[in-house]
Symmetry: D2
Subunit: 348 residues, 4 copies
């Protein structure tokens, strides 16, 4: 860390600052410029010391040099993390496709969609059993039963499954039924949930908060990694901007940036990232062209009658199928190949 003193800070205040730093057992390097004196700290700086320094007399600015996350950083883990779930590899050159409805509605619905998702070449079935709804009077999901319906559909058709978990108390039951647990955008900083996921024994897909920075996303991932769970995927799903035509603004620069800052796989969600069916196809292609390690896409056999009202962003099965055909052509141009199918799903 570096402390920058104000213009005309008296020597005495500089000495006070140095005394505080040395009292904590850190070394000091001093540079005197024309307008400012710069004090470099060598050693581990606690948040408390940092804030103490920030508010001392004569301090103009305090600049953090080291990143606040370690386990998520590529500095400390230079090779790509490649997560292997029953033979499906996620990360590196592999492109994983997750498809399915916003919400599980019935055994028949999820089974038919699973069949189509598999036939189009995807590896993972997505579906929500519990739904986060912004108003208290909306459909809240079918609950635990939905987990069983989805697990069975995945098993029958040879697909992994992913589902959202919204609260710490549901982590265990979701981990029992699904191959991947998903953290939604509103829960990116639900620290109790993140901590619980650190020991859940399942890979986690962590969605970026809709107003979160890259740094905040990586710090949230750090919570899960610090608990001992190394299998974390980062997911760009759109941020809030002044534009209201799209539900969110999909920030595709996040893909190459997160891949350079971190070794974790980066998945793109063009469905929530745009909120409009007609934009899913171009933004899915753009995501892969930008280097995404995977996509998570909503698909529904009858989007007009979906129970969540999110059908407006769901592809029809033939659109999903055509998109995957195009992606198979596009992938090799940007150094990606489709992940293989799960070797076995019998252990579900």
């Amino acid at each position: 860390m570096i402390v920058i003193t104000s213009n005309q800070t008296p020597e005495e205040q500089v000495k006070d600052i140095i005394a505080v730093i040395e009292k904590e057992g850190l070394q000091v390097h001093l540079s005197r410029g024309a307008d400012h004196t710069v004090i470099g700290l060598v050693g581990v700086v606690t948040p408390k010391l940092a804030e103490h320094l920030r508010q001392m007399k004569g301090v103009e600015n305090v600049v953090k040099i080291s990143k606040s996350y370690k386990l998520a950083s590529r500095d400390f883990h230079p090779e790509d993390t490649i997560i292997d779930i029953k033979g499906v590899k996620i990360g590196g050159e592999n492109l994983v496709i997750m498809g399915g409805p916003c919400a599980v509605e019935s055994p028949e619905q999820i089974d038919e969609i699973a069949r189509l998702v598999k036939a189009s070449g995807a590896q993972v079935l997505r579906g929500g059993a519990f739904k986060p709804r912004t108003g208290p009077y909306s459909f809240q999901g079918v609950g635990v039963e939905g987990l069983t319906m989805m697990a069975e559909a995945g098993k029958r058709h040879g697909l992994l499954t992913i589902t959202e978990v919204m609260t710490p108390e549901y982590v265990d039951i979701c981990a029992e039924h699904a191959d991947i647990l998903q953290v939604g955008t509103r829960n990116m900083q639900n620290f109790d949930l993140l901590r619980k996921l650190g020991t859940c024994g399942r890979p986690v897909l962590l969605k970026r908060g809709f107003s979160a920075t890259y740094d905040e996303l990586l710090n949230a991932a750090e919570y899960i990694l610090a608990g001992g769970n190394k299998d974390v995927m980062l997911c760009e799903r759109g941020i809030r901007t002044f534009e209201t035509y799209t539900r969110n603004t999909l920030d595709l620069s996040a893909i190459p940036v997160l891949q350079s800052l971190s070794h974790l796989p980066v998945i793109s969600d063009p469905s929530h990232g745009t909120g409009r069916r007609e934009l899913v196809e171009p933004m899915a292609k753009a995501s892969v062209a930008a280097g995404a390690n995977g996509l998570i896409i909503e698909m529904h056999t009858d989007p007009d009658n979906s129970m969540t009202g999110d059908g407006v962003q769901s592809l029809f099965p033939d659109q999903f199928d055509n998109l995957l055909k195009d992606l198979e052509k596009l992938a090799p141009i940007v150094g990606r190949k489709f992940s293989t199918s799960p070797e076995t799903v019998s252990a579900l």
Copy 2:
């Protein structure tokens, strides 16, 4: 709700749209303009129907007319809500002041601060026992013990207490120890928590999410109200903007706007809203001048050594004291008067 068809939508598609609406038992009013046909719906529109219509062929836009919240709306509750907690009135012309440290650190710390808060004329003691920290390696609070320390300090000095609750499983224990429960900015849309607070038997102070709109804040309040808890305060605590000089941007227009849309009291938090001690005083005064029903302010006897590192935004006791003296002069000019002290705190 209103459905607007595109330019040149064929008559057949208009008929399809009308058929869908009438099938749900709603009435239709049709207006044909030069470029657009407008279809008005009379009756209760479910979210599912709304989304179905939005994605039908020929539909250009769907406009919501009624607000999605009811219990929080002034339309349905024209008089100000005035919450009475042991004789302290919150809402209407009353100005309530909540002061205290970011985190409870020790019995001595919270007792000394409580004494000073009371001496300055405030009615409520604030303090966190559990802290939401954005990195996994930061101080996480002293836990349940802190609740007891604060309850005792409040009782001894004749102050109500308010503390943040971060997860549904801690609602009961917090409700047992504190007079008011606070929902933090990152939990504004933690729906499981909101639902639990709807039946907790304590008034709730709901902080606006740092990227939330007024409408989203009022919908979050609706969750608590819908559970049967009528004692909800809204709290403006700063939003994220492009400006990084301040930690957040305190949106004071929220005060008169929320008071016009809703009957609930509106509290301002100039400490988190700015993140800088020197801005707390001007923004506290501005909040009262804008019509706030109360303030929640961080104060610490030794902010340089506070355990959370949030000391940088805490007032010193004499600053807090001087501020309250000024506010007593300012309040009557804008139609506010200080709330009275708690009648009794023996029942704590």
Copy 3:
């Protein structure tokens, strides 16, 4: 337009509203709902009438139905605009590539860069003669001489040229020397400049303001179109968001959205859109995959010594060359083909 009255608006106020509308010669359609009365207006609504209605007693909301732009809208011009400049076609299935330095620095610099840009397969040479600098003490460009240098380099190597014009008084001289005039992000709503460009006789590339919505961009284009200039390209160049790792956030959804709302070609600028060299390649590919009609990319032979300090986002010549090779493979997969070279540049 639609006027929505508040809950419990007295009948008399509704009558007043209707009287105001009918006084302006418009027809009224009335729909009475349970909570609201909706008044539809048929005919052309002036902004003045709209605002008058918005502030009348009893009015809760006023909803615009028709778009405020006409000439830029696909509703009134269903086919793609294809701009033809000396045989280079911009729009439709054509993919145009514009490359060159941030600023023209010397005849030798721009000539060498032009040679390389042409050799890599691009059709247009970019370069700034006047630079908008956010501080008064920065390099402001070489001025009019730079226009001549660039025109000659373009002519010698068979490239069209594009340059930024910053103020109405420079439009004529820029139009004399360059094939395309560019409006920068800070000038998107410089209405005097836009009006002047409406009659300048040259195609215009209009950059989106860094906090502008799609609607505002299209209204700005409308200014130029309304002046009689039909050759307008829209340019996505990144918006400001909370993320500061990238200089801006390139909003690629803008590409398919603007193409659906408007018939005008949409160009992407991954250089300014990210501000980082290493992100230009992935975001250029993503732009094409999202359907862009062209790219404008900074390239410099010696970016470390560029005079503007924008070298940090400029590609090296070999990176530019490799990118174009990859784009030639990518284009056909998304229905794009490289524009042909200019037939003649002798007329410059």
Copy 4:
């Protein structure tokens, strides 16, 4: 400036970086930490050198220490700037009130409004002769004639005048007719305009761009100051946020922050800052409570029929009058007193 090298940057690259710095005649201070080496630069760093360093191999980050503005900074001008225009003092403890219509419409309109503005105790008459309109089909102002109408009204009633200038070519004519020239939010970075205002001989009120940071506003002010014009006022007029209920979000923290960073007076515009008449009064009071040096407020005798459609945010004369009465009570509590009237306006 400080250069921070990456983790594991080889010694050779560190030497290269140092060589580049020393070649420019600057001194180097080196601090080696566990993970990073920090290189401090002593001397004046050109933007070109800064960018060169940023893109060198081994560089992780480059941190600016000195502010990029000088003349606007309180570091170099510790006392408040107090602008004296015909005896009206702006800055320091003085509170100046500017009132009037959005646009000058007719001699009668502006004369009647001037009379009322004066009677209520304000010192300055505001009014636009040229209007920046976001669509090409809107009312664009009455032009030069409006300047004369306003000058005469000001003279007759003993008021200074302020009007917006939108383009460099109109600076001279506006300076001839008005006492203060105003730069609108969309022109904050119109650098040609700012440069011209640096030599116009009139005080300038510079409005913050609706997405600009404090630093950008102060750099824009620097342009005017660097031209030799010392009489600059900064104006907070609302920023764009996700909230659409208000037209903009008035950022009142800007007032104390700008006053601490700069010696220039800070004026608040609650009319444009909210876009809603009912919010002008609370936000005007809040602005003064936050320490504003003045207010600029829209007032109209017949806002429902104002030609710009901005009537929706204009106060009625009696509202304006009542507001000023309240402000006279509020001002002394926060250390402000109303500016005195102009001594003479005959020199107009």
